[in-house]
Subunit: 208 residues, 2 copies
């Protein structure tokens, strides 16, 4: 996806019958919005007298959240590329036994990439959640709801990307490869679910 | 927010120390992505022989999801407008008793709008979740993960907008007005939480 695509155009493309952008791109955008909101809370806390004690820590959080935001924004395109490679492999000729074998091999290697790309998105969203927890605890109270939206967005991004891991891992013949990814994924999902609810409650109590 | 703003620019603005766009805009985008993904599943189901029995129903879902997407996209700008009105009211002069009274009144009326705008976003996201449930049950199996991402995005949008309802309702002197909104909100959140998990499980079982 081009960096200069507009939001309205992206949503039009998401809604259309074109296969990409789809849920994988939406997952990456959710994660990127989460990272951006962590940065926003940092930017509105750093430099304020009242928050001088947490300034050094939030400067460090900001550097990390901006790096994660760049990574997640790049994953919008990675998702399209991985999907296109799977589709291209399925489109290869299958007239002869040799062609069939080459096609099957290409499909399997493309599915491995298409499993690892959303898994990387899950890992990155998980890191955003850790940063959202810090800003929910220590950020400027005037914008603390944005820390809550940050964790909700990142968690939605993680669970959304997880669905794409499942879809692609299902088609893999290499079950050891698939099971290793699925095991990591369950760990990420479990930790993130607990953190998401904890951070949401912290923020809800601060804004109520 | 201009319709032709790019995603990268929107994320830059979200991350910056400018107060808008913030969590309210991110909530509306999450909801709009949910609606767009419902539309995508409809568009990739309608016209397929295998799904002829659900075609009429999904055409109806598509018309509704596209209307909800337009509403949610418009709410990105509504959120900025409501926030700016609150800030403008706080900025009014407060030198004399008359000025103080006029300012207090303006703040209260702006906060009522700033409570109702995210509540409308919550209601609209709730409607997207109902449509996501239908497409998760009946949509084309090849893109069923997108129905799962639809429900996750819409639910994240609802909970995100809810935080902005809390923030603004807290400042209201008219407690009857506030309590009525908060009561409706709790109903929306409770129903949506159950539906979100149900739809996610339906999709997860189909892709595993």
């Amino acid at each position: 996806m081009a960096q200069n695509e507009t939001i309205a155009n992206f949503l039009d493309g998401l809604a259309s019958s074109a296969p990409t952008p789809g849920g994988g791109g939406a997952a990456a955008i959710s994660g990127a919005m989460g990272a951006a909101l962590v940065s926003m809370v940092c930017n509105l806390t750093i430099g304020k007298k009242k928050y001088v004690e947490v300034e050094a820590e939030l400067k460090d959080v900001l550097a990390k959240s901006e790096a994660l935001r760049a990574t997640l924004t790049g994953m919008i395109a990675d998702d399209v590329e991985a999907f296109d490679a799977v589709m291209a492999a399925y489109g290869l000729p299958k007239g002869t036994d040799e062609e069939k074998a080459a096609r099957a091999e290409k499909i399997q290697s493309a599915l491995k990439v298409a499993t690892d790309v959303p898994l990387a998105c899950c890992r990155t969203c998980r890191e955003v959640i850790d940063l959202a927890e810090i800003v929910a605890d220590k950020g400027n109270l005037n914008v603390i709801s944005d820390a809550g939206v940050a964790v909700l967005s990142a968690f939605a991004g993680l669970r959304s990307a997880a669905l794409n891991v499942y879809v692609n891992a299902k088609g893999l013949d290499d079950r050891a490869f698939a099971d290793e990814r699925l095991k990591e994924l369950e760990g990420l999902l479990g930790e993130a679910a607990g953190l998401n609810e904890r951070v949401y409650e912290v923020v809800k109590n601060k804004v109520n």
